[in-house]
């Protein structure tokens, strides 16, 4: 513990400069706004703002971008509660009881409790980061190419099996990402692949334009397609002067354990590669319903049903920072974009980062403490203000975001090829979204594709061409077993489901 507090003090001395605090405030506020708008998540928000951080110090830039990342978790819930529209996929579970609460006239207490829940989840998450990151970083120094390959595979496997409803579509989405990742110089042979003589493609396809295209333009096109721009802005009024704005004693007492359960579940889900905030929040909700003595109340405006997913998604967004910092392996679209930002600043995430750049790592973690404090204040005191943003008609928001996406992409490398790529992937993202494919799997596979390919080939070179290396090294063996069991259970569950359906069909057929 002593170690952690010294490290944190060191971090606070970095984070508490006026300059860093200023950009932290900007980051978390932008995050709140990004979270508010449906179809516009933290991944797109971070990607678009990357070029605008060029003039900053690396630590400041990352503090700002990370602020957007976890700030979005706060903002996303506001719309979940008020208009039953999650601003972000990680806040879908918050609509289940959040919206009924608002319908019961308890919008005020729901908003305050979600802010508190987010704060507790975020803060517990950050405390656990402090405890786990150095340990994992130390442990990870015994990870070689074979271990990295297996972790990447496990992450992608979990993402494709857990996220989408359709396994095949998830796998196809990931394969699209792998395909894009093959462009450029092959790190093993040095050969150029699919560059078509264009020097701009030698370095491969940079994933930020692809991420902005898929998450930003693609989502916007989808929102226009479903007619969101035609909807009149709903006039929402929330005032914290009224007496029933604040939660009562019963709310606090009832959910005191929920805070901790949700935080732990969320954090674990965040640390695991490929799961993250969305799964963490859904998991926390169902666990809470299971342990409750009155599960029938859930879904009808139960405070615990809001607190559980809210603590979980914030703890998960903190948890996802652990593998990002200590292994350099992101678990979601948003952390993948953060990874890109880190690398752009010459900060190479992995076990060495915490040794070589302790000021940066602890400064970032300390800024997350401060950021969560700011967010709880902002989201309680300034909710009426943020709700005003929702009055802006969607048709006015869209062009602004499109312009930001285009300018931001061009500003990255002043490259027209990348700007065209943005438009192309925007259309692709629209198609993927409309037909139930997973843009997050594509971006993650694109980011991890080169790493997966290289570590696989390195393992084979080291193992003299034999796959034995994946079972000879002890950590590799454990990972291989986990990987195979995930595959085994996925297949088992599917077969079971199929048999059940067949039985059902047979029964239906017999009765007919």
């Amino acid at each position: 513990m002593g170690d952690i507090s010294t490290n944190l003090m060191q971090g606070l001395s970095v984070a508490l400069s006026y300059y860093n605090i200023l950009f932290l405030v900007i980051g978390v506020s932008v995050g709140m706004v990004v979270g508010l708008f449906p179809g516009f998540g933290p991944a797109a928000g971070i990607a678009i703002l990357i070029p605008m951080t060029f003039g900053l110090e690396p630590t400041t830039a990352i503090i700002l971008l990370a602020g957007i990342y976890y700030g979005a978790m706060y903002g996303g819930t506001i719309t979940s509660i008020l208009i039953n529209t999650p601003g972000e996929s990680a806040t879908v579970a918050s609509t289940l009881d959040g919206y009924p609460l608002a319908q019961n006239g308890r919008a005020g207490p729901a908003l305050v409790m979600q802010a508190l829940a987010s704060f507790v989840g975020g803060t517990i998450g950050v405390i656990l980061i402090c405890a786990f990151t150095p340990a994992l970083a130390k442990f990870a120094s015994s990870f070689g190419p074979s271990e990295y390959f297996l972790i990447v595979m496990l992450g992608l496997l979990l993402l494709t099996t857990m996220m989408g409803d359709n396994l095949l579509k998830g796998i196809i989405s990931a394969l699209i990402g792998f395909a894009i990742a093959t462009v450029g110089v092959d790190a093993i042979s040095g050969a150029q692949r699919f560059t078509f003589g264009s020097p701009e493609l030698i370095g491969g396809i940079y994933f930020v334009p692809v991420a902005i295209g898929l998450f930003g333009i693609g989502e916007l096109l989808h929102c226009i397609h479903i007619g969101l721009h035609k909807k009149q802005g709903e006039k929402l009024k929330v005032s914290f002067r009224s007496k029933d704005f604040w939660p009562d004693m019963k709310d606090y007492v009832e959910s005191k354990f929920t805070f901790f359960r949700g935080s732990i579940i969320g954090f674990v889900a965040g640390v695991l590669p490929g799961s993250g905030a969305t799964i963490g929040s859904i998991l926390a909700y169902s666990v809470e319903k299971k342990v409750s003595s009155e599960p029938e109340k859930f879904g009808k405006g139960e405070m615990r049903g809001l607190v559980a997913p809210e603590t979980a998604n914030n703890a998960a967004s903190a948890g996802a920072m652990v593998p990002l910092i200590s292994l350099g392996i992101p678990g979601s679209g948003a952390t993948a974009v953060l990874l890109g930002a880190l690398m752009m600043w010459g900060l190479q995430p992995g076990p060495t980062l915490i040794v070589n750049q302790p000021d940066f790592v602890w400064g970032l973690i300390a800024s997350m403490y401060l950021g969560n404090m700011m967010l709880v204040l902002i989201s309680i005191l300034a909710i009426p203000l943020f709700v005003k943003f929702l009055d802006v008609p969607y048709r006015l928001v869209v062009p602004v975001i499109v312009v930001l996406c285009m300018v931001g992409t061009y500003a990255l490398h002043s490259s027209m090829i990348e700007t065209w790529l943005l438009i192309l992937t925007g259309v692709l993202g629209f198609g993927m979204k409309s037909y139930g494919y997973s843009p997050a799997a594509t971006v993650l596979a694109l980011v991890l594709g080169a790493m997966a390919e290289n570590t696989f080939l390195q393992s084979l070179i080291i193992g003299d061409g034999s796959m034995k290396i994946f079972i000879e090294r002890p950590i590799s063996l454990v990972l291989t077993i986990i990987l195979l069991s995930v595959i085994f259970f996925t297949i088992l569950l599917r077969v079971k489901k199929m048999l059940k359906n067949r039985k059902l069909n047979a029964a239906v057929g017999a009765s007919a």
Binding site: G144, P351, H413, N454
Partner: protein, 322 residues
């Protein structure tokens, strides 16, 4: 009006007085803004060196009071940015910094330019390589590695398939008369963990990448690939002094577009000689673990020829290029 005339007159007199001091025929240079192109993205090694250099030029007013515009033109491992500068043939108001890819990228890719399309000014720092082993391994000297390689499959890692790391590993093996398996990593982080995890026997890496692990006592550098010992790590012996007669370092220097007049080249050589004397420059070398052995003008051109030949030679012998 009168005041303006006076100011002009003073200026003219002053410039007249200055001319003999700054050089023979570079009079009037610089009279315009300088465009400093960085062929890589912000945050990387080349970016840091370029920005440090420009900061020093501005701080000590070494560019004749003219503005210096810095621009990152990243892409294609330097192909885009260097191409932009190469196209400004004869224009002395463009400059760029070189690093490993300045030689490496044209060798492996069809870029449309080579180092010959530039006017070399100065080599300001050397990007030489360390050969590093784990401190708990049985290798204490290069000789131990050579002995081991005679009966075992020695595995040496480095960043990239055709980069300077591979050239250094290849030259070492050639001079020692041994065989080894080269394991390329995609990035520096992956390279370091492949050694910490005991997946490899040794790695070739940039001193700045491993200095943290060396300071922490996890890694030991056994050889340094420059001809002279590094000014920052004077305790690490060179390959040559241990009997493996080769040296290889990539140039971190300054180039102008091709066909720039000799007087202007000399003006830049004089100016950069002042830059390397500043405390800011030495602090930069220190923090990045770069060696401060400098070469100017023609000597730099000869150095580029030799390094390019070594680079191509090794890559050809190991079959990466034809």
């Amino acid at each position: 009006m009168k005041l303006l005339k006076k100011a002009l007159l003073v200026g003219a007199v002053a410039s007249l007085a200055m001319t003999p001091l700054t050089g023979t025929a570079a009079s009037g240079y610089p009279s315009k803004q300088l465009n400093y192109t960085i062929a890589f993205g912000p945050g990387g090694g080349n970016d840091l060196m370029s920005r440090t250099l420009v900061k020093i030029l501005k701080k000590y007013d070494l560019f004749g009071g003219q503005n210096i515009r810095v621009e990152n033109r990243a892409g294609g491992s330097g192909a885009i940015g260097f191409n932009h500068v190469a196209k400004q043939k004869g224009n002395p108001y463009h400059a760029s910094s070189t690093s490993g890819n300045f030689l490496g990228t044209p060798i492996v890719s069809d870029t449309g330019w080579t180092y010959k399309d530039f006017t070399p000014i100065a080599l300001l720092a050397q990007d030489a390589m360390f050969l590093v082993v784990r401190s708990d391994s049985k290798f204490k000297t290069l000789k131990d590695l050579v002995e081991y390689a005679k009966t075992n499959d020695l595995k040496i890692g480095g960043t990239g398939a055709a980069g300077p790391e591979r050239v250094v590993a290849g030259l070492f093996a050639e001079t020692a008369g041994i065989k080894f398996t080269y394991v390329p990593s995609q990035d520096d982080g992956g390279l370091i963990t492949s050694l910490t995890s005991s997946s490899l026997d040794a790695i070739v890496a940039n001193p700045s990448e491993v200095s943290g692990q060396v300071a922490a006592g996890n890694f030991i550098p056994l050889g340094y690939s420059e001809r002279k010992r590094s000014t920052v790590f004077p305790d690490v012996p060179t390959f040559a002094e241990q009997g493996y007669d080769f040296d290889f370092a990539l140039p971190r220097g300054v180039v102008l577009p091709g066909d720039v007049p000799t007087e202007i080249r000399d003006w830049w050589v004089d100016t950069l000689k002042k830059v390397v004397e500043t405390p800011e420059w030495n602090e930069y070398l220190e923090t990045k673990g770069l060696s401060g052995n400098t070469i100017f003008g023609d000597e730099f051109a000869i150095y580029l020829d030799k390094t390019d030949k070594d680079f191509r030679g090794v890559l050809k012998r190991i079959g990466v290029i034809k």
